[in-house]
């Protein structure tokens, strides 16, 4: 059963990473590990972090909710509340599912995906640094716009300082890792709202 435990743990970790990367109130998240599907439903819109906006007027853009595939298509993401994630495994132990409900799940169904949420993943195992050197200003802050190729962090691995670059243009919605923290291969470092 150890494998099933590992599977649940992995699914759980990825689901949490995904919820964080979307950076908005998740209404429903379904993850199936067997044939790899990821479904998400969330409520928007949110141009600001003001909770009042979540119940904003109905004249906001296109209708929602909408689903997304695992490429991380998302809303005008705003961080709103902590996600609650639970993992279950079926009787045969061959499929794992994760459901997530956020505190913001009751907000209006209005909203649109004028932008795409994505993450900047870690290219390797190492130590994540937000600043060019200790005490210096960070490369980017939450809310900053970045351009493709712009350096957003340093990843130290095997005595080498490796620059981490944004691959697409967009806005940094969330920094998902503490400065000087150890990170794994593929771990989401930044949540990005592509523009």
């Amino acid at each position: 059963m150890a494998e099933h435990g590992d599977l649940i743990e992995a699914v759980h970790r990825h689901a949490v990473g995904f919820v964080e990367s979307v950076g908005g109130p998740i209404r429903r998240l379904k993850v199936t590990a067997g044939e790899v599907t990821l479904e998400a439903e969330w409520a928007g819109p949110a141009d600001s972090a003001d909770p009042a906006d979540h119940a904003g007027p109905a004249d906001r853009r296109a209708p929602a909710p909408h689903g997304a595939t695992s490429n991380g298509q998302g809303p005008d993401g705003v961080v709103s509340g902590a996600a609650l994630v639970a993992a279950t495994v079926d009787a045969h132990g061959t499929r794992a599912a994760v459901t997530a409900a956020s505190q913001g799940a009751s907000v209006t169904a209005n909203g649109t995906a004028a932008t795409t949420a994505s993450v900047i993943p870690s290219p390797t195992v190492g130590t994540f640094y937000r600043c060019p050197e200790p005490g210096a200003e960070p490369f980017v802050k939450e809310g900053d716009l970045v351009t493709p190729g712009q350096q957003v962090a340093i990843l130290e691995a095997m005595k080498l300082m490796n620059p981490i670059h944004a691959l697409t243009a967009g806005r940094i919605t969330r920094i998902l890792v503490e400065d000087a923290a150890a990170v794994e291969y593929g771990q989401a470092l930044f949540a990005l709202e592509e523009s």
Partner: protein, 449 residues
């Protein structure tokens, strides 16, 4: 001989030293950081002491912890391997003060040759050709510009406490010198905690040739031939071989003899390597001395049949090498490839991580200096060396074919883990390498795609 030796290192070299100690009936003590508790040396050594957390400055570079481990385990001598404390004169002195034998040159020799500028003055005085340069620290950009006139461009600005290709900057033209000076100085401060730099003529295209020496306490010095380490990327050697391809035997012999004289003149003790650049005009220039066992020592061992670690222990315990120059017979050709956890397709990004599966080469005349095991995590805190693959053959052509066969057997997998195996195979197949006409520029410009 020593009863107990502590190995103050990690990875493949720690395992390699422990293996020879076992063969000699010497009890071994391994020291390890918490990142290395799964390392095979921890189990292979008779005793293992955890000396600190993963960052090297708090474990493998932290002298008090290493010395305490030696006291606790009753070690009489410390083998420092390469890197870490191996060329640290202060550490060697602390060992002396504790009544421990440091397996390497005495602290005075380490201090003299560890100061790269002073080393060049001393080596030049000892009769070895060196590149034109200041051979003393430069205190300002203005002074650098003044000194440059007597050296000639291009010029490389190097850290006095430097090594491993770090803390240096190149100025191709006079206009670039002030900036190169500033860059090297700040890198030297960041990397070595010593911002002093000096200037030297930069040789863009050259062969890297080095001579292995072994010296006793009383002027008994012998050499074990020359190696070619011209396949380098960012001053990190990738492929090493012996003999030096294309170098006439009499020229190699003369270089080795001059090196032996110089090693005697500077009071060298133990195993060491004198490094030279061989320029397009066929001139040798001594660039530095590595006061320790070298990563690439297996190729010398394969053509001489001499166990260099055993000789290091012999010198440290008795004051004299266990062999004489007459015992050294160079036979055949040997090549070593360093298999690193790096991804050539992503600019040689280091790729540490958990090793899911591991198949290392084996077979006739094939030596693997290993340390990674299946399921082990290759730590992001240390260098990317996964294994050294070395082969011996009667001649270079057969050695290359054997190395290609050996590399083709090498398969390492894990999430996010890549290796340089295919890149190395590409270099071996390169016409310049085949002809032995390659320089240090080969791997820098080689695109395997």
């Amino acid at each position: 001989m020593f009863g107990t030796v502590l190995v103050a290192n990690r990875g493949e070299i720690a395992l390699r030293v422990v293996r020879t100690c076992k063969e000699m009936g010497i009890r071994t003590v391994a020291v390890y950081s918490s990142a290395d508790e799964d390392s095979p040396v921890v189990r292979m050594a008779d005793e293992a002491v955890r000396i600190g957390p993963p960052p090297a400055r708090r474990s493998y570079l932290y002298a008090p912890a290493i010395l305490q481990a030696a006291r606790l385990t009753g070690a009489e001598a410390i083998h420092p391997g390469y890197g870490f404390v191996s060329e640290d004169a202060d550490f060697a002195e602390m060992c002396q003060a504790e009544g421990l034998t440091f397996i390497g040159p005495p602290p005075e020799v380490l201090a003299m040759l560890g100061d790269k500028a002073e080393a060049l003055r001393v080596l030049s005085a000892a009769g070895l050709p060196v590149l034109p340069g200041t051979h003393r620290p430069i205190a300002s950009a203005g002074e650098a510009v003044e000194a440059a006139a007597g050296i000639g461009f291009p010029i490389i600005v190097k850290a006095l406490s430097g090594g491993g290709g770090r803390g240096m900057a190149i100025a191709m033209h006079p206009s670039e010198l002030p900036e190169a000076y500033a860059r090297a100085r700040s890198a030297a401060r960041a990397v070595f905690g010593d911002e002093r730099v000096y200037l030297e003529r930069y040789v863009e295209s050259a062969r890297h040739v080095e001579v292995q020496v072994l010296a006793g306490l009383h002027g008994q010095v012998l050499h074990l031939g020359a190696r070619d380490c011209s396949v380098q990327r960012r001053r990190q050697k990738l492929i090493e071989e012996t003999p030096v391809p294309g170098l006439p035997e009499d020229v190699a012999a003369e270089l080795c003899e001059r090196t032996v004289e110089a090693a005697r003149a500077v009071g060298y003790v133990g195993a060491g390597t004198f490094e030279f650049l061989l320029d397009d005009a066929g001139e040798f220039h001594c660039i530095e001395v590595n006061c320790r066992i070298q990563v690439e020592h297996p190729v010398t061992e394969l053509v001489t049949g001499v166990d260099l670690v055993r000789e290091q222990l012999h010198v440290a315990a008795t004051g004299t090498p266990g062999i004489t120059q007459d015992d050294v017979r160079l036979n055949g050709a040997a090549i070593e490839c360093r298999v690193n956890a790096e991804d050539p397709a992503r600019g040689f990004l280091p790729t540490p991580g958990t090793i899911e599966s591991l198949t290392l080469p084996a077979g006739p005349f094939t030596r693997v200096d290993d340390h990674v095991r299946q399921g082990m995590r290759v730590s992001p805190f240390y260098d990317p060396l996964l294994a050294k693959v070395s082969v011996w053959a009667p001649d270079r052509e057969q050695a290359i074919a054997r190395m290609e066969r050996a590399l083709s057997e090498c398969v390492v997998t894990g999430p996010g883990v890549s290796t340089t195996t295919a890149f190395l195979a590409g270099l071996l197949a390169h016409p310049l390498f085949r002809d032995g006409k390659h320089t240090t520029a080969l791997a820098e410009t080689f695109d395997p795609a």
